[in-house]
């Protein structure tokens, strides 16, 4: 088999493994990324994988999809409202984390300071994927979720720039603070500049083109192209992708048709999933159990350093943010969430995988990164819900849960009744049995309906919630009906696009009204 076919076979097998793990994790309710790492470790027991790809290639393949997807979905208008705390945590916060973690691991694990700083930089980027999905499920305040997402997006950019400078310094043994600072500014600002130019051009093209396949191709070119272009000019590829993604997602997509939006969102969701999965699997494959055992002490030091420095950075910069004014203030309950929700993930793993072979203590750094990511996923990721509930940051009140429980019972009862009716129609259920079973189900149904009515009577605020939910469901059903009509050729493309764009605007408007009335109650809330 030639080299290309061998490489292709490896990719196919890796994707197959991630898919199988996804199926198993979902069925068994296991944490997906942790399962991927464990499976990777098990596969690697006979022989661990030594990646042949160059460090630059690893970053160029994995970083654009991970970062572009997040930037593309972030609302620029909402981001501006929280920009001060986000930038404080993502820029000086990352620099301080790098130094603190570097210092602590150098002292605690007896590592050379230069090498420890490389670890500090690569571990500085937070990865809140698991936390953010939990935020959505629990109805955590939108601004808090946005701060966590925004910080993660920008600290990826900062951390990678610092990482590059730190690796160069560790390899050459030379580091001039002033040169380091000017390099940092040049690389960061250059990357932002490349992202602005390419993102703006693509956004203008996307806004003018109607063909969804062409538009989707343009986003792909932008994500990978902005990275490559920035790297060509020796500036930050990741910051270029961040800025390009923000511009394209907010400016370019504003006038895009619903079918284009669906296609692009699905594509980037998939690419980000694939990149995330492969990074976790590859780290499992690259690290062997002996290495982990040999570096257990260093891993513990790394975990303590990362958690400790996160506390200093979050609480310290939150205090500083107050000086910027009222809008920059981070409520104290949010600080605890920002601290404990600072999980580490794919970017740190991609960075450690990208370390050049000549890097001192490369294997030790892999083990430490692995340990930190695993700890944050298992210890922090699994307890953050408890913290949110303790802090009263979940909007799911007991009455809300009670309503959901009753709705669930109602749906289940109705489904049971429909199935029995079908069995009766198919002749599987005799008339008398059908009558008896139907009566039982109808009584259950009436009981639940009565309970829901009573709940609404006791907690009138649930009515408002129900109104929004019902309207949202109805609009989605309307959109589904239009899609169905398009497929059956009852509607032409232009008419479908116009009508479904209108529904999309209505859905977006509904979310905005919901957020506004829930965060800024006015007359109606009280009356």
């Amino acid at each position: 088999m030639n080299r290309f076919l061998t490489a292709e076979s490896v990719v196919v097998v890796l994707v197959l493994v991630t898919t199988l793990v996804a199926i198993i994790a979902r069925r068994r309710r296991l944490p997906y990324t942790v399962t991927l790492v464990v499976i990777g470790l098990l596969i690697a027991i006979p022989t661990s994988l030594e990646l042949e790809a160059t460090p630059d290639l690893i970053l160029a393949i994995f970083v654009p999809p991970l970062v572009f997807e997040a930037a593309f979905h972030l609302d620029l208008r909402q981001l501006r409202e929280n920009l001060t705390p986000i930038l404080l945590l993502a820029v000086p916060g990352v620099l301080l984390t790098t130094l603190l973690v570097g210092g602590m691991t150098a002292l605690g694990a007896g590592m050379a300071f230069g090498t420890a700083v490389v670890f500090g930089a690569l571990i500085a980027a937070t990865d809140p994927v698991a936390v953010v999905s939990l935020f959505r499920a629990l109805g955590v305040p939108r601004q808090l979720a946005l701060t966590v997402e925004g910080e993660s997006l920008f600290n990826d950019g900062t951390a990678i720039v610092v990482f590059r400078i730190a690796v160069a310094a560790a390899l050459t043994g030379v580091f001039e603070p002033l040169t380091g600072l000017t390099d940092f500014l040049r690389i960061a600002l250059g990357g932002i500049g490349v992202g602005l130019v390419l993102g703006w051009i693509t956004a203008q093209l996307v806004a003018r083109l109607e063909d969804r396949l062409t538009v989707t191709s343009l986003t792909t070119i932008l994500a990978f192209g902005s990275y490559v272009a920035a790297e060509y000019f020796h500036v930050s590829g990741v910051l270029a992708v961040v800025v390009a993604g923000l511009l394209c997602g907010n400016v370019g997509m504003a006038g895009a048709s619903p079918s284009t939006k669906i296609m692009i969102f699905n594509l980037w969701e998939y690419l980000a999933f694939l990149a995330n999965s492969l990074v976790f699997l590859l780290i499992g494959l690259s690290v062997d159990l002996t290495l982990l055992w040999d570096n257990l002490g260093a891993m513990v030091v790394a975990v303590v350093a990362v958690v400790g420095s996160r506390a200093i950075v979050v609480y310290g910069f939150s205090w500083l943010a107050r000086l910027w004014g009222k809008t920059s203030r981070i409520p104290s309950s949010w600080r605890h969430v920002l601290f404990w929700g600072g999980l580490r993930g794919a970017i740190s793993l991609a960075l450690v995988l990208s370390l050049p072979v000549a890097m001192p203590a490369r294997r030790e750094l892999q083990a430490m990164t692995f340990g930190v990511v695993l700890f944050t996923l298992l210890a922090q990721g699994t307890t953050i819900q408890l913290l949110l509930e303790r802090l009263g940051l979940t909007e799911r009140s007991p009455q809300w849960v009670a309503r959901e429980t009753r709705l669930g019972r109602l749906f289940a009862t109705q489904a049971g009744l429909r199935r029995l009716e079908q069995m009766h129609r198919d002749g599987m259920l005799p008339d008398e049995m059908w009558a008896g079973l139907r009566e039982g189900y109808r009584q259950d149904q009436q009981q639940v309906v009565q309970e829901i009515k009573q709940l609404f009577h006791e907690h009138a605020e649930l009515e408002g919630e129900m109104l929004f939910q019902a309207r949202r469901e109805a609009l989605k059903a309307e959109r589904g009906a239009l899609w169905d009509a398009l497929r059956r050729n009852i509607l032409s493309d232009p008419v479908y696009e116009r009508l479904s764009t209108d529904i999309d605007h209505r859905l977006e408007a509904l979310d905005l009204i919901y957020s506004a009335t829930h965060e800024r109650p006015s007359v109606g809330e009280e009356g």
């Binding site: 504003a254 609404f456 009577h457 907690h459 009138a460 605020e461 009515e463 408002g464 109104l467 929004f468 309207r471 209108d502 605007h505 209505r506 977006e508 408007a509 509904l510 905005l512 009204i513 506004a516 009335t517 965060e519 800024r520 109650p521 006015s522 007359v523 109606g524 809330e525 009280e526 009356g527």
Partner: protein
């Protein structure tokens, strides 16, 4: 006698405010108007297409909400009208009371306070007093205990 106006927009105090208004209209044999006012500032911050969608959706939600209130009144055999308006909340309510020559306004007092709320427990009574002075209309505030 002018109509009784019940200003409502759902929420925690919505139902008891509506029920109190229905009972009062029945007792007095007066016409009942459910009024829902949305602040236009949200739509004003958005681009044209989304701003228009927000206004349309506010109108839609208002009609649905008031339709529910009207169904409640109908059960009690009370005739009602429903009006959804978009404008600065306090001024729009005052303007509407003058326009229909209302005999009374009914609003609800929430259980919990919010610093950003236009009508948190302290402010609702302040607003009621202001309406009484500016329009001469009798204002009834439905408290959480009712």
């Amino acid at each position: 006698m002018g109509p009784i106006v019940c200003a409502t927009r759902g929420g925690e105090a919505g139902r008891r405010t509506q029920e109190r208004a229905i009972a009062l209209a029945k007792e007095r044999g007066a016409e009942l108007v459910f009024l829902c006012v949305f602040d236009p500032s949200l739509a004003g911050q958005l681009n044209d297409a989304l701003g228009a969608a927000v206004e349309m959706e506010q109108q839609w939600l208002g009609r649905a909400l008031l339709g529910t209130a009207q169904a409640r009144a109908q059960k009690e055999a009370v005739g009602t009208n429903a009006v959804v308006l978009i404008g600065p909340v306090l001024e729009t309510i005052e303007g509407f009371l003058r326009q229909v020559d209302a005999s009374a306004l009914i609003i609800g007092e929430p259980k919990t306070s919010s610093a950003l709320a236009a009508f948190h427990p302290g402010k609702v009574h302040h607003f009621a007093e202001r309406v009484r002075q500016n329009t001469g209309v009798d204002v009834l505030v439905v408290s959480p205990e009712e």
